[in-house]
């Protein structure tokens, strides 16, 4: 199947870039006001942890955090920082917000990439298989397993896997991203991180896998009943080739959309997995920031997350064209 190279008009890119920036800005401002609704502020959260605090201490914290300023001034400070791409300083952690986030980003990206790749490959193989054997034993087994994964909370799957594979069998470590007692470097460290990655990546992947299997199966069943498949069959093309080369190309579109949504939402979507496996990712940072009312840090992560969503959507649109050249970008 040869196709002319897909066309991606420049006006499309420009328009999407502009819309994307406006979306991110709108999300930032809306989030700013939404977060003000949470009762209590960072000074109170900090004082709450200390267990004791004099009124002067609280007042000093508020002044330091800029919380004693009128709301509109705080918004203005926030927006002007945003336009200079300066995420500000987290008094809570005593560090620059950008440093905090980017130090945790690699862990999240690693977990995301591994689990999504695993889930996509698994989802396609199992989904296509299920569709080819629709309503027969392989399909029933795959669909049942998928449903089971989908219905089970990921943190529970994670804990059970820790219990079985770490505590009972001792095959993999229980938690963390690397063996911090070993002080590995170079390849030894990479292998060690890979070893630690297995359980969290599987846990996170299982949840996606269940959705992907169902999507691919349903898409495949639709496509397999179409005319061009009958033609292909008549030509004597093998069933496997029909499945993966001909039908999948059309059937995979809904999967691309959903994978795009999952990837976009990943920054916060892995909180449970990160918690169970003590994976030092951005999701945990965001979760903690909420409970500590470190709104500046939280807003920054939310903005980054919205940028992520916008970029992924853009990539997904391009992917449509690459996968199916009949799609036209406007």
């Amino acid at each position: 199947m040869t196709a002319s190279p897909p066309r991606i008009p420049l006006s499309f890119v420009g328009k999407r870039l502009l819309y994307g920036m406006m979306t991110v800005f709108a999300i930032a401002v809306i989030n700013f006001f939404l977060l003000q609704l949470a009762p209590g502020d960072a000074a109170e959260a900090l004082a709450g942890e200390a267990g004791t605090a004099s009124p002067e201490y609280i007042a000093e914290l508020r002044a330091q955090f800029g919380l004693d300023q009128p709301l509109m001034l705080q918004l203005w400070a926030f927006v002007s920082r945003l336009f200079t791409l300066d995420l500000g300083y987290s008094f809570r952690y005593g560090a620059d917000v950008a440093d905090l986030i980017f130090a945790r980003l690699p862990a999240t990206l690693l977990l995301m990439t591994t689990s999504v790749v695993f889930a996509v490959i698994g989802g396609i193989v199992l989904g296509v298989t299920a569709a080819r054997f629709a309503n027969r034993l392989p399909d029933r087994l795959i669909s049942f397993t998928g449903l089971l994964f989908y219905a089970t909370p990921p943190f529970w799957i994670g804990l059970m896997m820790i219990l079985v594979f770490s505590v009972w069998f001792g095959w993999v470590p229980t938690s963390g991203m690397e063996n911090v007692l070993a002080f590995n470097t170079g390849w030894a460290r990479a292998v060690d991180i890979g070893h630690h990655l297995i359980l969290p990546a599987l846990t996170q992947a299982f949840f996606y896998l269940a959705i992907y299997i169902r999507l691919v199966r349903a898409g495949m069943l639709d496509v397999l009943s179409l005319e061009f498949i009958r033609v292909a069959r008549a030509k004597g093309i093998s069933e496997a080739r029909i499945g993966y080369r001909h039908a999948l190309r059309s059937a995979v579109m809904p999967l691309v959309t959903v994978v795009g949504t999952n990837v976009g939402g990943f920054l916060g979507g892995a909180v449970l997995t990160e918690t169970v496996f003590s994976w030092p990712g951005v999701g945990r940072l965001m979760f903690d920031a909420m409970f500590q009312r470190d709104l500046n840090l939280l807003l920054s992560i939310l903005i980054l997350s919205s940028v992520f969503v916008v970029v992924t959507n853009f990539v997904v649109d391009i992917l449509y064209v690459l996968i199916n050249p009949t799609v036209e970008l406007k």
Partner: protein, 546 residues
């Protein structure tokens, strides 16, 4: 050890007091001979070296406890920074950075002789200038509790490099209990002076005098400390490295302990329901001591602005309605001291059992409520109240459910609200929007620092967390607390606190329930992990593998 300290130590038997002036003098003399890290806890023979993994939960958000005294910060800070004193289980003071100390007869000055030959981690000599700077510029200005603890300190004189004299406007006996390394760390003047101390990089990468040096902090993952081989305690530190792993989920911590990836954790690292199993397992050691300097109490504060709760009979009825024996078992799995008053038995030199008591007696509770004019309606209920508690662990959920059940039996309908910490603080202390508030009230090592703020009418300050939120105001109580705060004579001070406990239980603005015991868990081969009341907040110079 008791012999060495002569008059000072002698088991605190009521009339005795942990720190008296003659004792302080004696300790000063004896300490020079010892020079050890923890003279009161003979370190067992241990294998030198090794890397130990401990966990701290939640992750500390700073490495120095001078500006933030959250419990995890205190634990990590104390490994790197030190205080002037250490304490033993009876809260007697022992030398740390100070080798000797003497309080003047009038209680208006305290002289500290400092340890010679101590160096900061960057090689600079530790001197009295560091002590003066830390107390005046850091602790008194920026420490959450320091403002009240060091409020009476007017100046710190430094006649020579190894002497620091605190000048006080009034006697401040409580101050002598607040000088441990995790509570009042001494920080290096040459690092902080002239900088914006709150954002000084050393807050996250400390330069201290302690047995461990800061190496790295990977947020969300781990903290690495290494042995300070120039440490003044010649035998310490035993370990080569101390690595702190951040493991957020309690079940994951259990798994990490069982898989041998974790050797140590304090402040209740595993769910209370797991403690029994760990205690019985030969693979682990579980220690229940080591929080006697915190004394965090679970209490229920009553909002006296509520006209129902303003009636003393109602408050007494609430106490009579609660089966606290059962509560210790059901809610705390037996891991708690049942309180008789606002001061726990872990402060033996101040505790008294001779207070008004309210044994479990639902009939008496009903009679008291009838007498208060709240007869039961046709459905058996009299009135409704709202209990708010912070969402910190499942103990509070269990306790709230338990109270709801018990109060229902006497006709009080308890509505339960569980809020995250900032919401809890805003509701209870910011808006006084509560009837009953259950929370951890820390007595610390001295009631003047810890308890006074809950009972003192002058501590009513809307918007300030963890002070008098009940609105309780009693001139007699104020007088007692104020007198105790400045009373240098230990026996007389004890008498004031006995009357305080009696009055607190007669007036009942707060229902004291339990002192939960937060266990420390270690694998079987770890030694010296709880050697004093500092528990996991100790400097851990003697911490070792067997």
């Amino acid at each position: 050890m008791t012999q060495i300290f002569g008059t000072q130590v002698g088991r605190t038997d009521g009339a005795g007091f942990a720190i008296d002036r003659r004792g302080l003098l004696a300790a000063g003399g004896a300490a020079g001979l010892l020079g050890g890290l923890m003279p009161f806890a003979a370190a067992k023979a241990a294998r030198a070296g090794g890397t130990l993994a401990m966990t701290i939960n939640p992750e500390p958000n700073a490495m120095v406890s001078a500006f933030n005294t959250a419990s995890p910060v205190a634990v990590i800070s104390a490994k790197m920074t030190e205080g002037l004193l250490h304490y033993d289980f009876d809260l007697n003071a022992h030398p740390a950075l100070a080798t000797g100390w003497e309080m003047a007869e009038d209680g208006l000055s305290i002289r500290f002789d400092l340890r010679p030959g101590v160096k900061w981690h960057d090689g600079v000599d530790f001197t009295s200038a560091d002590v003066a700077y830390s107390i005046l510029q850091i602790l008194r200005k920026h420490h959450p509790r320091g403002k009240s603890v060091f409020a009476k300190v007017t100046d710190v004189e430094t006649p020579d490099a190894l002497t620091a004299i605190l000048r006080l406007s009034e006697p401040a006996p409580a101050l002598m209990y607040a000088l441990s390394g995790w509570e009042s760390p001494i920080v290096p003047k040459h690092i902080y002076d002239g900088t914006d101390v709150l954002t000084n990089p050393a807050n996250n990468a400390p330069v201290g005098t302690g047995p461990f040096k800061f190496v790295a902090w990977e947020r969300g993952s781990h903290i690495i400390l290494e042995a300070n081989r120039d440490y003044w305690g010649s035998a310490a530190p035993v370990l080569d490295r101390l690595v702190v792993r951040i493991i957020t989920d309690p079940s994951a911590r259990v798994a990490a302990f069982e898989a041998g990836e974790l050797h140590l954790g304090g402040d209740g690292p595993i769910p209370v329901s797991e403690v029994k199993r760990f205690t019985e397992s030969p693979k682990f050691q579980v220690e229940t001591r080591g929080t006697e300097l915190n004394n965090s109490l679970d209490v229920v504060e009553l909002n006296l602005r509520n006209e129902i709760l303003a009636k003393p009979e109602v408050r007494q009825a609430l106490m009579h309605a609660l089966n606290r024996d059962l509560m210790m078992q059901v809610v705390y799995y037996g891991l708690a001291e049942q309180l008789t008053g606002p001061i726990p038995q872990s402060l033996p030199h101040l505790y008294t059992a001779d207070v008004p008591a309210y044994p479990y007696d639902p009939d008496r509770a009903r009679a008291l409520l009838d007498a208060a004019g709240h007869a039961a309606g046709s459905d058996g209920m009299r009135f409704g109240l709202r209990l708010i508690a912070p969402a910190i662990g499942d103990t509070y959920d269990r306790a709230a459910q338990f109270m709801r059940q018990q109060f229902k039996a006497v006709g009080i309908d308890l509505e339960l609200v569980s809020a995250d910490v900032p919401t809890f603080i805003r509701s209870v202390y910011g808006e006084y929007d509560f009837d009953l508030s259950m929370f951890p009230a820390s007595v610390t090592a001295d009631p003047t620092i810890g308890s006074q703020r809950f009972y003192w009418s002058k501590a009513i300050a809307q918007g300030t967390p963890f002070v008098n939120a009940s609105g309780y105001s009693s001139p007699e109580m104020d007088m007692l607390l104020e007198a105790a705060a400045v009373e240098p004579d230990p026996a007389r001070r004890r008498q004031f606190f006995i009357e305080f406990q009696q009055r607190a239980m007669a007036d009942l603005p707060i229902l004291p329930l339990a002192r939960p015991i937060y266990v420390t868990v270690a694998s079987a081969d770890v030694e010296n992990f709880v050697v004093g009341p500092e528990g996991v907040r100790a400097s851990y110079g003697s911490l070792a593998f067997a």
